[in-house]
Subunit: 362 residues, 2 copies
């Protein structure tokens, strides 16, 4: 097995195409060190540090109010629960590869007894037709922008607006899984508030493109966020102190919000380099955010060997894992952060030349 | 209203009878600063920083395994859920002032549909008779040691052992709400492992006597903790990074575990000073941990005025709030931490003399 070699190879590289920095305690320390002096802890959801950030994010997202949560898993189950209770109907709809469907051990069903209707095929995003042709009545539709598990694909903004109109007309609440909301704004050429205006509630994450330690914001109208605080306590998320996450979220939000355009341009440039390699294609072919999936028409073990060799010889980190999609193909995810811009251009060129060569002669 | 004056007065005092330090960002920074160098983040429950601490705590508590949780609210609901599922019976028993009953917005009922049987009167701890005379079959009994809402009272160790024996005989799981477990060990003259041996599962907190930032440990046998990880994900508690809480929990555990005996002795000394004042008594009269409740036979507003005056004149912080118990009486909680030992003895004496005088002539 070459998976261990691949992981070892990337840890020894000088440069890497993905991410911001190593996920270690310095990420937190850096954020704490820029404080003017000691800051009082939040206390069970109250206090300046949490209230100020919640207000800042509500304004940024164009919503009446927002609540800081330890995780998006908690925030989103709660959002759906509130909309289901409002309609007294425990049914929602989302994509078959929705985070709630595949990464949360069925929390939505086990803790909230909410039944999800899966819309659209796995390989594409939800379209207006999927919503219109739904047989069942639902309380809420969740859209994930971008759809992470298929490379970060997006519907057109017109589709989004038409789904929003339809849901409003039918009394269906629309919730945005905006874990990577900031990352798609350059493609849509919209502000966060403009996108969020299409939705009744929105969740954003602070450790993806923003690169904080952990944590999430859930935003909506005041009545919604007040209810979400009660559920946050029920879930065990109303901690005495969430400030380690809040301070780092705030710090890296300010640092990286304006860099999303650059990450997006770099993702397009990098995807193009991958697409020029033999046996490689990306999904989407042209990225619409800072992320995409690399698909190799090569068996997993051989792909690991080739990627490891290239990384060992060039010192440029390309992948830490690959996942088989068939006997003869595999895939992995790329997300652009601060690191990409530091890579010398010649190194990028020579590395992709080598990758292409090795794949062509595999 | 004098409640604002009381709060203002305590913030201006030089010394305080309660707590360790101000709850601000320095608590976290201090713990981070003692690291030898950057430490890799945990990743969704995996990694050295979380695994090492879980092993350390499992050993300390004498259990097979332990899991770090963001909160005790989450950990305890999950513990009860696992024991209920094991017996396919959604009934548990606990004290009427149990944290789950009064501080969690009914999470246990709303998220887990578990029905609690309330044992014993509010003013006393659960006795063997309460358990034996229960009409209903239950999956799990929760004991909180010490019973915080009534001043931190404890059953005798013999009672505890007899309840444990009875539960084992009857196939009832016994869970320990050990939010303040370390704080009671000096009174019982037992190790944590000796107390925990009486229980099937145990939760401990890291921001009470230990004074960390937040976080909890849930311990039990391997099958139990493995299940708890699934529920932790469902609750939204399986964060990508819990290290801010883990590092501070570990740091302050090492610092304060050996100080619990001193806090206990100091609590007894301090309670005695209160009990010597006119119109004041403590519950328990002689503390059995680092905590007790102060009861004043004075109306809330008058008590606030007197306490504020004493603090303003002496510079020794005695109370930040009082809660009315009737038209003519009120109460507040005292927990001893690092601060108490720093108070000059003469200041303590003169302050309590003044308090006694003011109350006597009220």
């Amino acid at each position: 097995m070459n998976s261990k070699r691949l992981l070892e190879a990337i840890t020894k590289t000088e440069y890497q195409i993905m991410g911001h920095t190593r996920r270690d305690t310095q990420v937190l320390q850096k954020a704490l060190n820029q404080l003017d002096g000691p800051l009082d802890s939040d206390m069970y959801g109250r206090g300046k540090v949490i209230e100020d950030f919640q207000e800042k994010m509500a304004n940024y997202l164009g919503k009446e109010s927002s609540v800081f949560f330890p995780s998006g898993t908690m925030a989103q189950q709660i959002a759906l629960r509130i909309w289901c209770d409002e309609k007294d109907l425990k049914k929602v709809a989302y994509h078959p590869l929705c985070h709630l469907e595949i990464h949360e051990e069925d929390g939505l069903k086990e803790l909230h007894q909410i039944e999800p209707i899966l819309l659209a095929e796995k390989s594409r995003v939800i379209d207006l037709d999927d919503v219109v042709n739904m047989d069942e009545d639902i309380a809420c539709l969740l859209l994930e922008l971008p759809q992470r598990e298929i490379g970060g694909q997006l519907p057109s903004y017109e589709t989004l607006a038409s789904i929003s109109d339809y849901c409003r007309e039918k009394g269906i609440r629309l919730h945005l899984d905006g874990a990577r909301l900031l990352e798609i704004l350059p493609y849509y050429q919209k502000t966060a508030a403009e996108v969020c205006a299409l939705f009744d509630s929105v969740y954003v994450s602070f450790y993806k493109g923003i690169g904080g330690v952990a944590g999430a914001i859930l935003a909506g109208n005041q009545a919604f966020t007040e209810q979400s605080k009660i559920w946050k306590r029920r879930h065990g998320g109303d901690l005495i102190s969430l400030y380690p996450y809040i301070i780092s979220a705030d710090y890296y939000f300010d640092q990286r919000e304006s860099k999303m355009e650059a990450y997006y341009e770099e993702a397009k440039e990098l995807a193009d380099k991958f697409n020029q390699c033999s046996l490689i294609s990306t999904v989407p072919e042209v990225p619409v955010s800072n992320m995409f999936h690399v698909h190799l028409q090569v068996a997993k073990d051989r792909a690991e060997q080739i990627l490891a060799e290239v990384m060992e010889e060039t010192g440029l980190g390309l992948a830490s894992y690959v996942r088989p999609t068939s006997e003869t193909s595999c895939t992995y995810e790329v997300s652009i952060g601060d690191r990409y811009a530091t890579i010398p251009k010649e190194l990028l060129t020579s590395t992709f030349d080598m990758l292409d060569e090795k794949l062509a002669s595999k």
